[in-house]
Symmetry: C2
Subunit: 225 residues, 2 copies
């Protein structure tokens, strides 16, 4: 009965399935075959079936998948049917952007508090959540059963705060700081490195620009010849 470890690639795709199923529900679609879904999502039907079968047989031969049912099942797998208490460290624009994103609460992510070092921010209320001094961090985490901390602070402070969070009992860090964090293996870190994302974009734009330039040069040559 040893739980087979699910590959990272599969898990990474689940939220996208979830999103498409949500859209289908909104459209009033009741059932969908892996083939139809594959056309919408631009992946292979085979991959969809393989991915889902890592977690169980959610479909029915000759019928396909019941949209509502599959949607609920994926929610369970992702754990967004449970409640997660969350805090945000760093009440700058990025921290506030996260606090203001309403849909998180629908998915079970409850923002319990925000923290900052800036005295001008402390005491302010963002979306019903008070910004507190970072000094209160440990007490607050323990008293409010906080599992997840979003880290939207400069990279210089991130490792120290990460340590404090782990010691206080936080189980997961959603890391927006531009640095990697070292945590014990029973603590989860999910990185969102925006600058790296932008560099990947830059790489791809440049490749296209270069290609276009090259094809222009070719036409130039042809004209001369």
């Amino acid at each position: 009965m040893a739980e087979k470890e699910i590959s990272k690639a599969v898990v990474a795709r689940l939220p996208r399935y979830y999103r498409y199923l949500g859209e289908l529900m909104e459209e009033g679609v009741e059932r969908i075959s892996s083939n139809e879904l594959s056309l919408r999502m631009k992946v292979t039907a085979s991959q969809i079936r393989q991915d889902l079968n890592n977690f169980g047989g959610f479909g029915q031969q000759g019928y396909g998948y019941n949209v509502k049912y599959l949607y609920a099942e994926i929610a369970k797998i992702l754990g967004i049917d449970r409640q997660h208490n969350l805090i945000i460290i760093g009440a700058g624009n990025l921290g506030q952007a996260i606090a203001n994103y309403a849909n998180f609460e629908k998915r079970g992510f409850l923002i319990k508090g925000m923290f900052d070092v800036n005295p001008r921010l402390i005491g302010l209320i963002v979306r019903g959540v008070e910004i507190r001094s970072i000094d209160e961090l440990e007490t607050f985490v323990k008293e409010n059963d906080v599992q997840i901390a979003a880290l939207t602070i400069p990279k210089t402070k991130a490792p120290e705060i990460a340590d404090r969070l782990v010691k206080a009992g936080v189980k997961a860090i959603w890391n927006f700081a531009h640095t990697d964090l070292n945590v014990p293996e029973d603590v989860v870190v999910e990185n969102v490195h925006l600058s790296e994302s932008l560099m990947r974009l830059s790489y791809r734009v440049c490749r296209i620009q270069d290609r276009e330039e090259k094809s222009r040069e070719k036409t130039q040559k042809k004209k001369k010849a």
Copy 2:
């Protein structure tokens, strides 16, 4: 001379190499072997050498890699030695967070303008950049040679704006809207789906929680026995 296509996985790792090399430079380290770097980055030395050799031989046998040189070479590969003109569509918290991130300018990303539909935001200046009405979008893109647009708007408006951007000549979209975009193949889309990132985090936290619960049950059973 057919340029071999570099795999997505390799490109995805480049910015991380770049970041670590930057840190090494700050520490005053002049050279580094693939093995030393592999220990720092927690990847295999083999992978580092393979990755880099996709773009050329940047090292020297018996010596390793010159940090400064490799740093500069990766910058060239990623195209962050060139200038990219960027606009931000959506001047909410997320848009302002991006505008305020100073380091982007160091990497050649120049924020030319911000756009919003909210009349109360239009006219405001964020980090020296004026927030404009979305009506001015097309004119502005053409007059300012804008290549990249960051899309920090609700998913309902995203496809329409994406179309307008493409028609106006934008070559890349940094998409923060919670939806996929359809664009011609010579236009690049880099997605940052924060909600999906948070769901992946949720999945991993739940697995750890479940595991801990199970091991607690086991000890419970042992006690009874």
